[in-house]
Symmetry: C2
Subunit: 167 residues, 2 copies
DNA sequence: GCCCAACGACTGCCTCAGCAACTATAGCGG
DNA sequence: CCGCTATAGTTGCTGAGGCAGTCGTTGGGC
C-alpha cells in the first residue's frame, strides 16, 4: 500500500470526516431520544436563536443545509408534530414565518442540556483548553477559506457573527 | 442573544460542522466533474487501496458510511456504469467481491490529482505546517474518543492503521 | 396605473439510502 | 446425515431531500 492513498492530505481529510461522522452519530442518537432528527434540531435551534423565535422560510433555508423545498417539508412535519407554526408575514404576502411553538420550546429546553453534555463529553472535553483553542483556531481559518457564504442573513437576524451549526 | 446558543461548545461544533460542509461541497463539485458522486468515490477508493482492488460487499459496507443494502445499490450503479464488477468468492458461495475494472481505475486516476489539489487548496494549505500538525493532533484525539469502530477489517485488508475516509 | 421581471413558497417527480423480510449458503451439534 | 442457526447478499417498502416547474405577490420602469 505504498501508494497515493497514504498521502498525508488524504489522511487529514479522512480524520476530519471521521470525527464529523462520529460526532454526528453520537449527537443523532441523543437527539432522537428527545424526538428530534438532526435536521429538525438544526431547524428549531436556528429559529429559537432568532428574534421572536421565528424566521422566514427562505432565511431558514439559507441558514441550514437545506434547500427551500427541503425547508418546506421539514416545517410541514414539525408543524404536524406541533413544534412549529407558520405565520403569515404582514408586509409581504409571499413570505411566511416559521415560529417555534411553546411545545417546541419546551422540547428544545429538555434536549439542550444533554446535547451540551454530549459535546463536552465527546469533543471539547477530550482536549485541554490550550489544545482545544488551537484546534478551533485552525478550524476557524479553514472555515474562513471555505466559507460557503455562512451566516446568511435574514430580515434582521444574525446578531453575532460567529455562526454555529446547531447539531 | 445572551443565551445558551452562545455557549462556546455550540460554536465549537458549529465550526467543525461548517468546515465539513464546506469541504464536502468543494470536493463533491470537483468529483462530479469526473463523473463520481461522493459515495461512489469513497467506494472506489476503498476498493482501490485494498489488495487485488477488491473487497467483499460486507467489508465494503463496514469501511464506508453505508449499510449493506446501500452497498448493493451503489455497486449496482457502478457496475452498470462499467466502473466495477462483481466476482463470486471461490470458497464461500454466499459472498461476492466488488472489483474495480480498468475503466474504474482509469477514471479514478484521472480524478485523484485534482482531488489532492483541492484538499491542499482548501484545507491543508490554509495552515502552516505547525498549525496543521496541531489541528490534526487534536482531531486524532477526538477521533480516538468517538471512534465508531473505525477501520473495520476485511479479509486481510487495512494494512495501515490510519484510516482515511476517501472523500 | 400597467406591465413584467424577480421573488417566496409549494408541489411533482426523481434519486438515494435504510430497515426489514427473504433466499441461499455455511458450519455446527447431535 | 439431518436439522438448526448464523451469515452474505438482495429486494420491497418507506422517508428524506433536491431540481424544476407553478402560482401568487412584489416592486421597478414607463
Amino acid at each position: 500500500m505504498n501508494n497515493v492513498f497514504d498521502d498525508p492530505r488524504i489522511t487529514a481529510v479522512g480524520l476530519l470526516f471521521e470525527v464529523h461522522a462520529g460526532l454526528s452519530a453520537r449527537f443523532t442518537a441523543q437527539l432522537e431520544e428527545h424526538g428530534f432528527s438532526a435536521v429538525e434540531f438544526e431547524v428549531i435551534t436556528r429559529l429559537a436563536r432568532s428574534p421572536g423565535n421565528q424566521l422566514r422560510m427562505t432565511d431558514l433555508a439559507a441558514q441550514t443545509s437545506l434547500s427551500t423545498s427541503g425547508v418546506t417539508r421539514v416545517v410541514d412535519r414539525m408543524e404536524r408534530d406541533g413544534l412549529l407554526t407558520r405565520r403569515a408575514c404582514p408586509n409581504d404576502r409571499r413570505s411566511s414565518y416559521a415560529v417555534v411553538t411553546p411545545k417546541g420550546m419546551q422540547q428544545l429546553d429538555e434536549t439542550l442540556p444533554g446535547h451540551l453534555q454530549m459535546i463536552e463529553q465527546w469533543f471539547t472535553g477530550q482536549l485541554d483548553p490550550k489544545a482545544l483553542a488551537g484546534l478551533l483556531d485552525g478550524l476557524r481559518r479553514v472555515r474562513d477559506a471555505v466559507h460557503p457564504c455562512a451566516t446568511a442573513g435574514s430580515t434582521d437576524a444574525v446578531p453575532e457573527h460567529e455562526a454555529a451549526t446547531g447539531s
